[in-house]
């Protein structure tokens, strides 16, 4: 017995799920994995996958991997959402719905965690990876090995959270796991430990990405591109990464303290023994609120690019846009208390944080007016990417009004923790963050893959999302006013809420159809890729330098790095009938080598996390040693780069012009 507990920690035959829903989910995920592996073997693609993708330090490849993983996680979180809707539409009166209370609580905890940390963050880092180096004329990120390692830590977190479906259980304490509910006394199972280690690992990956992109933007811009000549997407990323660097350490430390409480019996946040749960709530939101802006700022950046491009006009008020971004960045650290006005802080504290919260609405409003006046006296081309922008303005404004109402502490007392709040933040995250990334993905897709996405299917996807969204979330605003709280697995029949929950469920199904339509759009566009080919490298009549290179962007990005004299450098060059660079500028360059060690580090982190969760202490030590040794091997590599000659580059350019690479 002692031997088994040393060898296996808390693992035993009892850890496998007993309810059919969880088991089914786990089996289908494993089955999907086996299917993909079988296909890779059958088509003999393992080597290609390993060399071209899994170990490749090219920022574009990493970006694509982020997006694929993020979409898979979006689907996983979406299935969670459908289950929640099914439960709340059916669990009324005598009926207790399709899920047990414990499964339901795990499902909503997983939904929030997955959507924020893996779907939204993944799409964001994916898009940043794809675009930022191209937009600022840098050949890669500042630290390519670190970049790939960040991705693999992110992936390790994603795998870990899905393991909880099949081995043990997930946290049932909500996506932010407030103590004392998340303490050992009230959550004795491994669920919260899964939550902790998923976020520890993925969070460190995010922090390193933040450092990487901040450095890249500060140090690697093309000659002549001063900060005030930098495209707004890169500006928004600069601000977001600044927030990542200041916010994510708070998250890591906070959940580390929770880990100490749960594992070593310390008393940082326990109810007794001198702990203080209110400290946790403050700390987690000191990260949590900036996190919202980490997600939304790059989406603002995307809209700034596409509104200018498709209005065929300079962005209105560039300077105010930058200042608005900077203002939001700074202010986002001074509003965290608005997440818990109801915790009983004094009137002065609540009043202060309420007013600070409202002040953020000013720079946000400025940005919206600047976008609108970018359209004024333009020539607006209604591309699918722009549809997402229109949806964003309408829905985001409505969500913003809801936000301003809740910023008043005394009004928040009546709306906090209600479905009104749930509707509010979904409006911000879905119509702001997701719509922004979808728009950006539509916009930059040809640059990465060499062909455009099907326009009509893109617009259909948009309509399904918007209609689905309105049906799914407007009933929740109403339910909030009816006094319905979030996270309820059951409610009384005489309240009369069921029809609203049913409508919300229908909306969720329509959103799911929107996701399916998006996947279908990918398939159709791929099959028609020769018809949709982007021959010029500039399919939208673009303004910034990423459109000056051929599509798909070659592995070295720029044959030669251009000198920048204007904010819309490529637009100006086109107007003056100039080329930004010529073949004579091409010289030998160095590019980072593949980095299999990053993959190994991700595996070590995954094993480490798993061992920590299940208290398999020998494995903790082994995986830690493996991690450090692997890292040392890589750091001792004297030549982690390879030379690409000018000749190779010119040859490749010729090939790309003839349509190679699609």
């Amino acid at each position: 017995m002692v031997f088994a507990s040393v060898l296996l920690g808390k693992l035993s035959w009892q850890v496998f799920p007993k309810d059919i829903v969880t088991l089914g989910a786990f089996v289908s995920i494993v089955g999907g994995g086996i299917l993909v592996a079988a296909m890779l073997t059958y088509f003999k693609k393992w080597g290609y996958l390993w060399r071209q993708w899994l170990t490749n330090t090219d920022h574009k490849k990493i970006g694509v991997m982020y997006i694929i993983l993020a979409v898979l996680m979006l689907i996983r979180g979406g299935v969670d959402a459908l289950m929640m809707r099914a439960q709340q539409a059916s669990a009324v009166g005598a009926s207790h719905g399709v899920l047990s209370a414990s499964t339901f609580q795990q499902v909503f905890s997983a939904h929030g965690t997955i959507m924020i940390f893996f779907a939204a963050m993944g799409l964001m880092f994916g898009l940043i990876n794809l675009v930022v180096p191209l937009q600022i004329g840098s050949r890669d990120v500042a630290f390519p090995f670190l970049n790939l390692t960040s991705f693999w830590l992110f992936a390790a977190g994603a795998i870990l959270i899905n393991l909880s479906l099949g081995i043990g259980s997930f946290s049932a304490a909500g996506w932010l796991a407030y103590p004392p509910l998340s303490e050992l006394k009230y959550s004795p199972s491994v669920g919260v430990d899964y939550w902790i280690w998923t976020l520890e690992i993925a969070g460190i990956g995010s922090l390193m990405s933040g450092i990487n992109f901040l450095t890249t933007i500060i140090k690697n811009r093309a000659p002549g591109m001063t900060l005030m000549k930098m495209p707004l997407f890169s500006w928004s990323v600069l601000c977001a990464m600044f927030l990542v660097i200041f916010a994510f350490p708070i998250l890591t430390v906070t959940i580390s303290l929770l880990f100490l409480d749960r594992t070593l019996g310390s008393h940082f946040f326990t109810a007794s023994g001198g702990g203080n749960m209110m400290m946790y709530v403050n700390l987690i939101w000191a990260w949590g609120h900036p996190e919202v802006y980490i997600l939304i700022l790059p989406a603002f950046g995307v809209f700034s690019e596409i509104v200018a491009t498709f209005s065929r006009k300079k962005l209105f008020g560039y300077r105010t846009m930058v200042w608005a971004l900077a203002a939001i960045t700074v202010l986002s650290f001074s509003v965290w208390v608005h997440h818990f006005f109801t915790m009983g802080a004094g009137a002065d504290v609540n009043g202060f944080f309420g007013i600070m919260t409202m002040i953020i609405a000013i720079p946000t409003g400025v940005k919206i007016f600047n976008w609108l006046f970018t359209m004024y006296k333009g020539k607006i081309h209604f591309n699918a990417a722009l549809y997402w922008f229109f949806g964003f303005v309408i829905l985001f404004t409505i969500g913003g009004v809801a936000g301003v109402i809740m910023a008043i502490p005394a009004a928040d007392f009546q709306l906090h923790n209600s479905l009104f709040l749930v509707a509010h933040f979904h409006t911000m995250i879905v119509s702001g963050v997701l719509f922004g990334y979808f728009a950006g993905f539509t916009y930059w897709f040809p640059k990465i893959f060499g062909y455009r996405l099907d326009e009509k299917l893109g617009i259909k996807t948009f309509y399904l999302w918007v209609i689905g969204f309105i049906l799914a979330f407007f009933p929740l605003y109403i339910l909030g006013f009816l006094g319905a709280t979030r996270r309820i697995n059951h409610y009384a029949a005489n309240l009369g809420w069921q029809p609203l929950f049913v409508v919300a469920g229908i909306g969720a199904v329509i959103i799911a159809a929107g996701v399916a339509m998006g996947v279908w759009q990918q398939i159709v566009s791929y099959r028609l890729r020769h018809q949709y080919r982007d021959k010029t490298g500039d399919p939208w009549n673009g303004r910034t330098i990423e459109w000056s290179i051929p599509s798909p962007a070659p592995f070295y990005d720029f044959k030669a790095v251009p000198v920048i004299n204007d904010r819309d450098a490529f637009w100006v060059a086109k107007k003056n009938h100039q080329e930004l660079v010529s073949d004579d500028d091409v010289v030998d360059i160095i590019l980072p080598k593949r980095a299999p060690i990053s993959f190994v580090l991700g595996i070590c982190a995954l094993i480490f996390g798993f061992a920590m969760i299940w208290h398999i202490w020998w494995l903790v030590i082994v995986s830690l040693i493996a991690f450090v040794v692997s890292l040392m091997i890589r750091l001792n590599d004297e030549k982690p780069y390879e030379v690409v000659t000018a000749e190779t580059i010119l040859k490749q350019e010729k090939l790309l012009k003839s349509g190679h690479g699609i």
Binding site: A271, M277, I355, T374, T485
Partner: protein, 307 residues
Amino acid sequence: MKKKRNKIIIGFLSLVVLSLFIWYLSTLNFEVLNPKGTIALQESNLIYFALLLSLVVVVPVFSLLIIFAYKYRENNPKKVDYKPDWDKNSLLEFSWWFFPAVLIAILGVVTWQTSHSLNPFKPINSKVQPLRIDVISLQWRWLFIYPTYRVASINYLPLPINTPIDFHLTSDAPMNSFWIPQLAGQIYSMPGMSTQLHIMATVNGNYRGLSANISGLGFANMSFVAAVRSNQTFQTMMKNMSQVRQTLNYASFLKLAKPSLNSKVEYFAKVNPAIYDQLIMSYVNHYQPTTTKSTNQTHLTKIGMIM
């Protein structure tokens, strides 16, 4: 012809659906906007006020978006201005920093004032002597102690009308949030902490109360009835409660506090009003919960085994 008829049918159907929906909404109780107490009334007025003020920004944003998108569309047959290099105008930019700032300033003043006037810790101005009620959230039900009457109840909260109520709240469970939407906004109840909420009900009736913060398995069941009655009826209710058999002291409270999914109403007489303070002090003074202690010890031994 056919197209026109289809349009009429679709229009008619949507009208039917819309009126059915409005009829359905009219049957519901919008608890947050249907106040039956002084605090809830002021809070719902505040929500309306903020909503109307926000419309001052929403209306121009929506109209500008629609007008600009329509007028400056690429394939507009009418000739419209195209100025690809027009990218700044100080007056316009100033105006959308300035006017929203004015709105926020107005809202800010209201925010500051209402944060103070509706501060849950602030006693309500009234000639009537306030009634203190101690609220303890358990796993997963509510215990209400009336120290003045030395009675207590589970999941049933009788309140006298037009009397200021002074709730003191704590928890012997994870964080909960005490909320009676028609009487007042919510406040957290936390173990080892004491929060306060002052309310005054102005209309007789039964109102739904609940926990608004996830606190474990039985959290959705934590609803109770706040029964607002005339002073006379309230006194009778207290008297009846003081005659029940079940009593409550700290020892029997600890038994009561064990996790339970049973949300049945219960009454207690001869209640020791010191329970509330004793409970809070039990969290503050010493490190006592036995379950935590034993689990932690096993963990520590396990670590000790390999280190």
